[in-house]
Amino acid sequence: MINTNDILETINMIQNENFDVRTITMGISLLDCIDDNIDKACTKIYDKICRYAGDLVKTGEDISVDYGIPIIHKRISVTPIAMVASACQAQKTVKFAKALDRAAKEVGVNFIGGYTALCHKGFSAGDYALIESIPEALATTERVCSSVNIGSTKAGINMDAVAKMGRTILETAKLTADRDCIGAAKLVVFCNAPEDNPFMAGAFHGTGEPDCVINVGVSGPGVVRAALAKAPDCDITEVANIVKKTAFKITRVGQLVAQEASKRLCVPFGIVDLSLAPTPAIGDSVARILEEMGLETCGAHGTTACLALLNDAVKKGGVMASSHVGGLSGAFIPVTEDEGMISAAEKGCLTLTKLEAMTAVCSVGLDMINIPGDTTAEIISGIIADEAAIGMVNSKTTAVRLIPAIGKKAGEYLNFGGLLGGGPVMEVNTSSPAKFINRGGRIPAPIQSLKN
């Protein structure tokens, strides 16, 4: 028989430590929906999503019952809409967002990702039209998530896109100012965006992917923290070991769920994304793991080192547990979605500059950070450029998801509710990078040898 302690440990993880599978995300290619008539294209998109993902939510719920593991989200990612939109020039691109939103509601998923443009080297007509339509698209839809890739290690950074995204983020926040600027919480700017990420808001279905695929994102910060709490005095080598072992177990469940979902939906299994994704719930925080390692408050000196260890150990533990690992895979540090980060930001211990340093070693980037509403578009672009530079030079994914709190100043609050959480508006360095941003052009791709 299976070891009694193992069974009780698992039950405890689920009941008390917020263990769950965060998302089953179905990736759907829309390349065969391209049409030069936008209304026809939208109909094809709606029909294809409903046809492919009709059983997604029910299957996720069934698997959740069978294995006794909560599966929090069932979601969809699609081909970057900018590619589909390229065929429909001078037509209202926002129609695509509305078609996606309708399809998401019809099949019952809470988010659909892929209102996306990949313009790390330059804009196509579709990219440009899509970015222009993002503020309206996110203000008039509920479930659509948008992302724009503005840089990569091989292409460098498209500074025209960086400048444009600064303005777009600000405009998106303004259009949803009556709803705590929530539009900006559904918009991510990437460098080195992965094509198989199942997590929102940055999920899209890359062009190298099959027609349809199942990707699964695991979670479990609470489980990792609880495991570390049982060994309060061990040295750091042992801390890394504990994280690895826990990540292995978490990922095995993700792999099981992914294989089962793939089998039941008759869709190929893509990847498991081994991420520690926090929620605003008490005990489901990445910041609290770092504090369990021995920091008084997340953001203290030593935070970057602890996060580097955590991020690496999660990958090492998870890689062996899954046949295919992909997506973002690592520790997320979204401020408003993490109870410990919110608390550290409220105390003033966790600042934007510290977060930027942390993003050099975490799995994504500056995520879910509220900034003052009077921050200029150029400053937002400056933040994006810095973050993209970290990703470009270090050959990793970095991202920026900032929420300009329109009409609010540092210290005031934004509340989005649900898993997006809420938190204080953080201070931003107000010295202007406007001349740099307005130069435009491209930062050349970095050299990949002579590394020092």
Partner: protein
């Protein structure tokens, strides 16, 4: 196909009989039972064969959880595969 039923809660008379009775009602064959009582807390793990179970897994799990509520204990039902996956390489 086997399922693992975990019952945790305050010890009261008839928990084992209640859970086992519900399994029998749906032709789920109890293969093995481990239980311990520590400081009035009752922990039981039951392995059942659900190959010939007369109701879908979902219904079995729900009816067992209802039994748990009657006795004021927490019942968790899951496929054996979950534990095999997590703890065996």
């Amino acid at each position: 196909m086997k399922a693992v039923i975990t019952v945790i809660g305050k010890d009261t008379v008839g928990i084992l009989a209640g859970v086992a009775g519900e399994c029998a009602k749906h032709s789920a064959n109890v293969i093995e039972v481990t239980q311990s009582v520590m400081n009035d807390m009752f922990a039981m793990i039951m392995m059942v064969d659900i190959t010939n179970c007369t109701v879908p897994f979902k219904n079995l799990a729900e009816s067992l959880k209802e039994i748990g509520k009657e006795y004021g204990v927490m019942v968790h039902v899951t496929h054996e595969e979950l534990f095999n996956t997590m703890y065996r390489v």
